[in-house]
Subunit: 340 residues, 2 copies
Amino acid sequence: MKLLLIGFGVVGQGLAEILRDKGAQLEQAHGFSATIVGVVTASKGSLYRADGLDIAALLAAAQSGCFDAYPEQAGLRRRLPAGEMIAAGSADVLVEMSPTNLESAQPALAICHQALDAGLHLALANKGPVALDYANLRDKARAKGLQLRYEATVMAGTPTMQLAEEALAGCEIRSARGILNGTTNYMLTQMEGGLSYAEALAQAQALGYAEADPSGDVEGWDAAGKVLILANALFGSSLAMADLDVSGITQISAADIAAAAAAGERYKLIAQATPAGGAVKARRLPLSDPLASVSGSTNAITLETDLLGDVTLIGAGAGKLETGSAILSDLLAIQRNARA
Amino acid sequence: MKLLLIGFGVVGQGLAEILRDKGAQLEQAHGFSATIVGVVTASKGSLYRADGLDIAALLAAAQSGCFDAYPEQAGLRRRLPAGEMIAAGSADVLVEMSPTNLESAQPALAICHQALDAGLHLALANKGPVALDYANLRDKARAKGLQLRYEATVMAGTPTMQLAEEALAGCEIRSARGILNGTTNYMLTQMEGGLSYAEALAQAQALGYAEADPSGDVEGWDAAGKVLILANALFGSSLAMADLDVSGITQISAADIAAAAAAGERYKLIAQATPAGGAVKARRLPLSDPLASVSGSTNAITLETDLLGDVTLIGAGAGKLETGSAILSDLLAIQRNARA
């Protein structure tokens, strides 16, 4: 399987490390073998080689901050734009891992459409295209017999989408509600431990969980992007961000947390999707709710089903190998289904 | 898909109800359509009809306690033994739902081998054959290009095996530890609420969770059967019951529960499998462990993985539709993979 990677930050490097370290094992267990033929980045440059790039050299060049450090190789082309790499025709799958833009989904969205038009399967860690243009991407992929996969967009490699769409295929899912933003869950957990909102935020920033501008996390927009993806994928909704009822944790004080604790409850930022719509809101949960005991940066989701009642999945929501493994799982599924 | 059902108790009736009520939906969503061609039971009799039995009449006859109540129909044969139904050659899948026997796995095991020999796929809710003879069944199925599925044997329809074997396919699983017996978890939860062991047991029996002879649950044997299945399936172990370190909750007193609570901990009956072996033991867990907050008859499992860290799945561990849906999910997978 020949891969074209858009973005080579934490997730892309995680994927490359997994392919480097588990290559032999994946070949043996799943008959899976992948070659990276192209990498496009905004800040490090771009590399393309139809016969495949050297993963160790690619990782070393990325560590140096610039692909100029990648050694010369026969057939290597530098600074080729994504469109030309797609047009060159050697890739099977486009892996979109550039930063999420929840306003226009660009430039990733245009590249995704171009890739489908050219006959490439898609695997996304970037939430923008699936949050904002799911129906068009899905329809185009179906029409061309291609696969659209996005396990990494919700709960990193914790297999939320495979659980909902494949393992629970015989059930009807009636709602999804979860803790889908690790930064805010970490902050709420720290506030339960006695920190103020400002102290919890400073700590999340120091640990690299929260950005210098934390609004995407603390105001609920990151979780809202995931609600759109779940609503699109599970319920065939065509909701836009403006249709969601979104608030974050900025208004939650230490006193609120203490009052909840005194009542045997916990505040959690709950992202929720049903066939009727979606919301992101800080809610007080009783301790008996499986989501109430999910602490730190861990994520979790509860799917309400017709035959099985509630099914809850708890796991990592971010991280280098954790998110890289989501892309791997999509690639394995693409191979499995392409054979079917 | 033509089904031969062995056993028609709670699980079989749950499956039949699902096929009756969701038939059209399954046909539309998955191109799936199933016919029951035979049903063999120990107490109600047996029915066989190559062109398919009427599900509503079958359920009504089962309710009456005896298949004699099933109306005459062209081609209907009564009291045919399982072996003759298999030999008759019209079934595609044998669904084994007779009561679990963890000593010899018989008579189910012989029927399973006979079915594989005759070219039928297997879907099991009966734990015996997969706990005691997994490697032989798997090897025979592989050699004949048949599928061996057993989602219902661990956590009912909560998709434990699909999670471990398919959704986490790219990860290495290092251990599995879970609450896999709902009866004992219900009892421990009631004891935390102040009941004595005897009172909790009486309540579990009154609710139908525990048998008149509760030893299979309270001494850990039911959970141990599931440990064998997990060890066989996830780690390729060939453990026997005697290799496991098994104890139950019979030695746990109200005072133990109170002492754990005072230390911020909870007793749970933890079933554990690693490549090195397996155990079932009541353990004190800190409240921060996702398994600690799983209460009542709910089941849960934590899979420790190389790439994703811990992944925890929480859901129903028993129930009519809950277990019936596990069989449905196996049948959907059989259809999906048979096309591949």
